[in-house]
Symmetry: C2
Subunit: 250 residues, 2 copies
């Protein structure tokens, strides 16, 4: 039985709390949050607190707060020599205060408040200062996910950049696609199967081999005629990504 | 029974030929291609020809060739007053020669030679000059897909631009994500669940509500630190899409 306390109740914290509560080999001892409101989502299922000085005893303390609060929260803990980890993609292990043993427990996924998802397929990236702690984090991660990766802070930082490209930026392109449809009275649902297939294709095919479209074909006539239709903002994005595709194959 | 002839054996032509061959209410009469090689994929299953003057009689002739060959091919047909359609997203209906009745039969999907996919979910956009032909195209489309849309040439043109954003450009971002992983010795498979969930999320949630990440949070410290790690090429894309996200929420 691994005893865990979660510090912070944002999207990641709440999702972790839920999956821990549903995993027999994990004991979720307590959940902390600065304010009461977010704790209501798990009310009655686990001990909660808004006072950092009231944290109970546990094997792993998981700090799941905004990146720029991690350092302060880890400094504010009134115990020492415990395993304290954060859940951030782009925060270095050493941002955590040295009074406790440091670690990272970073689930690579996009969490939304109102969308449930299974943890089994979510990659969890772990890191720690010593092998015992790494094995403990690996045990915890393996209980909720089939994809556990050991990455150092530099690798994790770069992987988070990758994630920004394939999630944050991709989602903005979905948004632009929708905008263009709406402007032309085309139901946005028309794009859904294409969006899905584009993502599914690269699960088995390298993106380099999956590329299609006017830029891939260097079809400058189509590129020019499409550019003419776009707002300045969309045209700038169109140009840079068209150049990027052309560059990939030249 | 709708009798169809396909002119051109690229990705779209071959995928259409296969689904027509598997649909009882459709009779695929013949497939034309300029050269013999691509026709080998459907050899023995349907009459084939490399001579445009040998085309048989059919209810619908589907020209599925590169955008800039559509006009010439439609001019070269030695018959008149037949229904001749093209399968292009960004080509106007009137690009087709006026000696025949014009139409469009455009499946909105990314077709790769080596990946099979079911047509049932693929949106098919149809257009024609008169209602009888439109109903015939609707019947044909409905036999292979559950998502049939009537779009005029301007709408289809703009929808094709949307598709360039949500497919072509998205795929280039997947490619960049892979590149960053490979450079840092991170297995690219780590990105697959995130890519899939990002696409699945917007099937039910508007992209505007699904957005997460440093740009959404206006987390300038993370943005600056990530930018420092990137090549000039990747940094330029990072900047323009970060600005685009910030703009969306300001």
């Amino acid at each position: 039985m691994i005893r865990v306390i979660i510090i912070g109740s944002g999207n990641v914290g709440i999702h972790l709390a839920r999956v821990f509560l549903n995993t027999r080999e994990i004991k979720l001892v307590q959940v902390y949050n600065r304010t009461l409101e977010p704790l209501k989502k798990i009310e009655g299922k686990v001990s909660t607190t808004t006072n950092l000085n009231e944290l109970k005893d546990a094997d792993i303390y998981i700090i799941s707060v905004s990146d720029n609060s991690i350092e302060n929260i880890s400094k504010s803990l009134n115990f020492t020599a415990k395993l304290v980890v954060h859940t951030s993609g782009s925060t270095h292990l050493n941002t955590l205060n040295s009074s406790n043993r440091k670690g990272v427990f970073y689930p690579l996924q996009t969490f939304s408040k109102n969308k449930e998802l299974s943890f089994k397929g979510i990659p969890i990236c772990i890191e720690s200062e010593n092998n015992n702690d790494l094995m403990l984090l690996k045990s915890l991660a393996s209980l909720i996910s089939n994809n556990v990766y050991i990455l150092d802070s530099k690798q994790r930082f770069n992987m988070h950049i990758s994630a920004v490209f394939v999630n944050n930026f991709v989602n903005n392109l979905y948004y632009i696609g929708n905008e263009i449809c709406e402007k032309n009275n085309i139901p946005v649902e028309i794009l859904h199967p294409l969006i899905k297939e584009t993502a599914e294709k690269v699960q088995t095919l390298a993106p380099k081999d999956a590329q299609t479209g006017p830029a891939r074909r260097k079809d400058t006539a189509t590129i020019e005629s499409q550019l003419k239709q776009l707002t300045e903002h969309h045209a700038a994005i169109y140009k840079i990504l068209t150049d990027s595709i052309i560059k990939t194959y030249s």
